[in-house]
Symmetry: C2
Subunit: 206 residues, 2 copies
């Protein structure tokens, strides 16, 4: 089935299913059901079955899902049965925390290039990686065939960084900068801004 | 209008409108329109007008929105025309980056309590704040009347932390732990997990 045939909102739930399956597996489970996943995730079991049915037949009525088989299938569908190299631009407090975060590698992603504009940071190492100058961004990304990047710069720098990333061949951007980026349609962009979440929840507080 | 009358998805867009308005204001603009907001945000102008119409009459046909008036109105609607004190649990790399982040205060939130379970961290200071023991969580949160919290602990610790937060009176939780929390219906919870975003985008890469 082509990528265009699956609603974006369904695609967005697959990583949540995969994460839950990995956790069940880590806890020693071998079999699960749409009902157990529903209980854990707060998504209806009918929705879960319908989402998965876009990609084939998983599990059987009455016996449920083999966790490892479904987990492997979802990794294949999401293309995280391989390792994606990711460029990280902006090595302030947040960028440094992302560079140290151990949770990317076993879920399909490895930060393998770090960039910053601050001359004082360029040349510094974080783990095995050396912080590079933004001037080297285009060449490094092209040479390494990098398709994914994270932006952890201040808002004011993010659009220019995004322009350079896209020009260098990046096709997926996760941005922590609190600004909506202007990006060509064929490039995917997702945003993380904690204040957006806090403000949404404040609405419901008196 | 009661909070229950506005669809959750509409509420979720209000902080995005507010952020765009603040940015326009910082850039020296005084007036904007649903069309300009649409162009900046990638949300249709009809959707923007419909979302805002839940809360009253803003702007006029042909003259657009006064940015400061609409911005003030949205701050009132979202209850961020005041300062919410936020507890942060888990002061690892990410927690430390959040504690240092300067972008909360001018958008309605101040991290005012820090907690960690690591005896080596308890008593350390980050800026003006001292990292407290989890043993003090219930009392500190109750005494300070804290209603909002962020969880930046490992996945394995997050549910127990959430239970303590809810028991102490917290009603909104933003969790960075990669796990779905089991939380009473009356408590709002939002999640940030960068890998979920990266996996969703990997689906669209070959």
């Amino acid at each position: 089935m082509g990528q265009g045939d699956v609603p974006d909102i369904v695609v967005g739930r697959l990583p949540i299913y995969l994460r839950a399956l990995k956790r069940l597996q880590a806890d020693g489970h071998e079999i699960t059901s749409s009902h157990e996943l529903s209980r854990r995730l707060g998504i209806s079991s009918a929705q879960i079955r319908k989402d998965l049915s876009h990609f084939g037949e998983f599990g059987k009525q009455g016996t449920g899902y083999h966790i490892s088989a479904l987990s492997n299938a979802l990794e294949g569908i999401l293309h995280v049965d391989r390792e994606w190299h990711v460029a990280l631009v902006g090595v302030g407090d947040l960028g440094r925390a992302l560079a140290h975060y151990g949770g990317f590698v076993d879920r399909g992603f490895r930060i393998s290039l770090l960039f910053d504009s601050d001359p004082a940071k360029i040349g510094q190492k974080i783990g095995d990686l050396t912080i590079r100058s933004l001037d080297d961004l285009a060449q490094s990304i092209t040479e390494n065939g990098i398709k994914m990047a994270m932006i952890a710069t201040p808002a004011g720098a993010a659009q220019e960084v995004a322009n350079h990333l896209v020009a260098a061949g990046v096709r997926s951007i996760l941005s922590y900068a609190p600004i909506v980026l202007s990006i060509p349609d064929e490039v995917h962009v997702q945003y993380i801004d904690p204040v957006i979440h806090l403000q949404k929840m404040a609405f419901y507080l008196d």
